[in-house]
């Protein structure tokens, strides 16, 4: 409603002052023309990029997914055979899909919980708060290749992580070498980057009016209650943003797998994007790889839609008075 109230009266006022419909129309269209010109001028770099480098290739990949194409010789039309192969014949596809679900559905919520927890801690007035904030964001700045190298050492069978577990009497697994533990190992690596979400959540927390806390305190709310009734609802939009971005990002996990495990052992850490990369650039099956890409697109789309549908129930926008 507020948007309409802002614009409409202004327009009417111009019309009244000019005193005639024709002139108004003339002036509006001239301005409109100019505006349209600048609109197209300023949007064109993006449009060219979008049409040339995104929309074009996307449409092309729909076609390619319906063909058998080795990238050298002309593509051969096969209809839906690639999709049928993925869904009914290729055990590696289902394994990779299952692994990707496993990874996304654990790493994203885990990352959010850690992010909110860290942000809440850093929001308190503690000594060296700025230093801690820097440290927590630091992992995000380290190139993934370097991180992966460090984690190869950390996750070694007799590495620091297993030493740590040893103090608690736990005999740690061989992580990256073990088919059962290789996915949890990748999730541990993803949790290391939770600092990126923390920074966004922290700024959201800083934006919460102090009066809300004062009022809650006067009503006798405990710190725990204050968190759940004031802080949490206020930061749900940022949590939601991180959820969507995290889902999309984790379904597309690639580099970690490529560097750390190459999908092994026995495809236990094979994910969708490394799989389609392997099909396209190592096996020269571009049609099949494109089909996998579109199936992944559908999966991500479904999860994003579910997230948006359920968002109404738990995401709180102050401007949306209900």
């Amino acid at each position: 409603m507020s948007n309409l109230v802002d614009e409409a009266p202004g327009a009417e006022r111009v019309a009244l002052r000019a005193g005639g419909r024709r002139t108004v129309r003339h002036r509006m269209s001239r301005r409109g023309k100019k505006e349209a010109f600048y609109f197209w001028l300023f949007i064109s770099p993006w449009l060219i990029g979008f049409v040339g480098f995104l929309l074009g290739p996307m449409i092309a990949s729909v076609y390619i997914s319906l063909t058998e194409w080795d990238s050298f010789t002309p593509p051969e039309w096969v209809g839906l055979a690639n999709y049928r192969k993925a869904l009914t014949q290729d055990p590696v596809f289902w394994k990779a899909l299952g692994n990707t679900f496993y990874y996304a559905l654990i790493s994203v919520p885990l990352g959010l919980v850690i992010g909110v927890w860290l942000a809440n801690l850093l929001n308190k007035r503690v000594r060296g708060r700025k230093l801690f904030r820097t440290f927590i964001y630091l992992p995000t700045l380290v190139p993934l290749v370097a991180t992966a190298m460090v984690f190869k050492m950390v996750l070694a069978p007799s590495g620091p992580l297993n030493d740590l577990l040893g103090w608690f009497g736990i005999d740690g697994p061989a992580w990256l070498l073990d088919a059962t533990w290789v996915k949890p190992a990748l999730i541990v690596l993803s949790a290391w980057g939770a600092g990126a979400a923390t920074v966004l959540l922290l700024s959201a927390m800083n934006g919460i009016p102090k009066e809300l806390y004062e009022a809650a305190e006067i009503d006798g709310a405990s710190a725990w209650r204050q968190f759940w009734s004031v802080t949490f609802p206020q930061i749900t939009p940022v949590i939601f943003f991180n959820l969507i971005m995290g889902l999309i990002g984790s379904f597309q996990i690639f580099s970690q797998v490529y560097i750390l495990t190459s999908g092994g052992p026995d495809n236990a850490s094979q994910m969708m994007v490394p799989l389609l990369f392997r099909e396209a650039f190592s096996f020269y099956h571009f049609g099949y790889a494109s089909a996998i890409a579109w199936l992944l697109f559908v999966v991500i789309m479904v999860f994003t839609l579910i997230a948006f549908r359920t968002a109404r129930k738990w995401v709180f926008y102050e401007t949306e008075v209900r």
Partner: protein, 422 residues
């Protein structure tokens, strides 16, 4: 007016779309038509310096031809070259190895037989049996450039300390295992670096008389000979404990394996290609090399690469003349001077320059390469090479890491290979 601005909007959209398409097609048509040959290779700084030195030699004698060398990191080489060729901008000269037939089977390489005939190049005389390595369905697609057998590197100090005789080609698999056991100090030092790589355990399979792909082009990895070889290779780590397990390697450091562990002096023996020499010269290890041991028969794998001409080349005659020169004795000499690799040219391989190079430690047995060439087995360079390798990786991961039954795993590999080769 409203309509007009809408129309403008549409026109604008159409123009931007066309611009986008134009930008895309522009990328595709850019080629080198100024007479410069584009050559792509993979490898390290040493590789680049060596190729460049050979090219400089060629350019000095052929002033009207220029070669533009591009070095692509090994792990991106296939994708980059594939993208170049798919974009109609393939290189004139390209380095090829085991994956050669993924190109030749899709007619992306120029068949070289006509050029070979008209230039009078005698493949048999220059390269020996390796000359036929890069043929597919009766046509030659690449000229061998670098070619050397896998050899046994051994740590003389460890052998002396354990009182074991140095390895020779006369050793049997049993002799090798006995030596490995003598050389092993549990948790500290191991007799051998392991055979988890295709070039290593396939050698044992061919020593047993097995084949990975049989002469009729069918998968043959479920034969008793191959099963026995794989079981032995894996038992060395998980039953006999004379090879570091995957866990023991991971504890030594990131990306640890036979080559770095041998250079660190923790292995009695390691089987790999010529390239390990570079880092060993700089290490403190007292080492030498020997030809591979044998099983029922002698067999060892070889590594190499050839030079091919892509179908996009605008001047294949000139490209072939360059390849001819680069694989001739004078240019191949540089490969050994720089300690880069084994030159494919037999004349150079048998020369004094190769047998006692300046950089080699006193008395290094360089003749091991020549000796091995008599029993190199021909690896099946099928067009689906990468898929075949993945079939092994997909099924043998846990087997290598934790030990297990070779028969069970190879039955799975066999089924997967059969569906790939259909």
């Amino acid at each position: 007016m409203v309509d007009k601005s809408r129309w403008r909007g549409r026109a604008g959209l159409a123009v931007t779309a066309m611009l986008g398409v134009a930008a895309l097609t522009a990328c595709g048509s850019g080629g080198s038509d100024d007479g410069t040959l584009k050559m792509v290779v993979w490898g390290s700084d040493v590789d680049k310096a060596t190729y460049q030195a050979r090219i400089d030699l060629f350019e000095a004698q052929n002033p009207d031809v220029k070669i533009n060398l591009q070095l692509i990191p090994g792990d991106q080489y296939e994708q980059k070259v594939q993208t170049m060729i798919a974009g109609g901008d393939g290189p004139d000269i390209m380095q090829v190895a085991e994956g050669v037939n993924s190109y030749s089977s899709k007619s992306q390489l120029v068949p070289l037989d006509e050029f070979i005939d008209s230039s009078g190049l005698d493949m048999e005389q220059r390269f020996g049996p390796v000359g036929e390595l890069y043929t597919y369905e009766g046509e030659t697609y690449a000229i061998p450039d670098r070619s050397g057998a896998m050899i046994v590197y051994y740590n003389k100090d460890l052998f002396d300390a354990a009182g074991v005789e140095y390895p020779t080609a006369e050793w049997t698999q049993e002799d090798a295992q006995a030596a490995m056991e003598e050389l092993t100090i549990p948790g500290e030092q191991w007799g051998y670096g392991g055979a988890g790589w295709w070039a290593q355990w396939w050698s044992f399979a061919y020593q047993n008389g097995g084949q990975i792909i049989d002469d009729g082009g069918r998968a043959a990895v479920d034969s008793p000979e191959v099963v026995e070889a794989l079981q032995w290779a894996n038992d060395l780590a998980h039953v006999h404990g004379v090879v570091p397990t995957a866990e023991e390697y991971a504890d030594m450091g990131p990306d640890m394996g036979g080559d770095p562990a041998f250079a660190a002096g923790r292995l009695g023996m390691n089987t790999t290609g010529f390239w390990a020499i570079g880092s060993l010269i700089e290490s403190d290890v007292n080492w030498d090399i020997a030809p591979m041991w044998q099983g029922e028969e002698q067999a060892v794998s070889a590594f190499g690469s050839g030079l091919a001409i892509s179908r996009d080349s605008e001047n294949p005659e000139e490209a072939f003349a360059a390849i001819e020169f680069l694989t001739d004795a004078e240019a191949q000499q540089i490969i050994i001077e720089n300690a880069q690799d084994v030159p494919a040219n037999l004349e150079v391989q048998q020369s004094e320059a190769f047998l006692s190079p300046e950089w080699a430690p006193e008395g290094l047995n360089m003749a091991a390469f020549g000796e091995s060439s008599a029993f190199i087995f021909q690896a099946p360079l099928i067009p689906e090479w990468n898929e075949m390798q993945a079939a092994f990786d997909d099924n043998l991961g846990t087997f290598w890491n934790e030990g297990g039954d070779a028969r069970t795993e190879l039955d799975k590999v066999q089924a997967q290979l059969e569906s790939i080769l259909q």
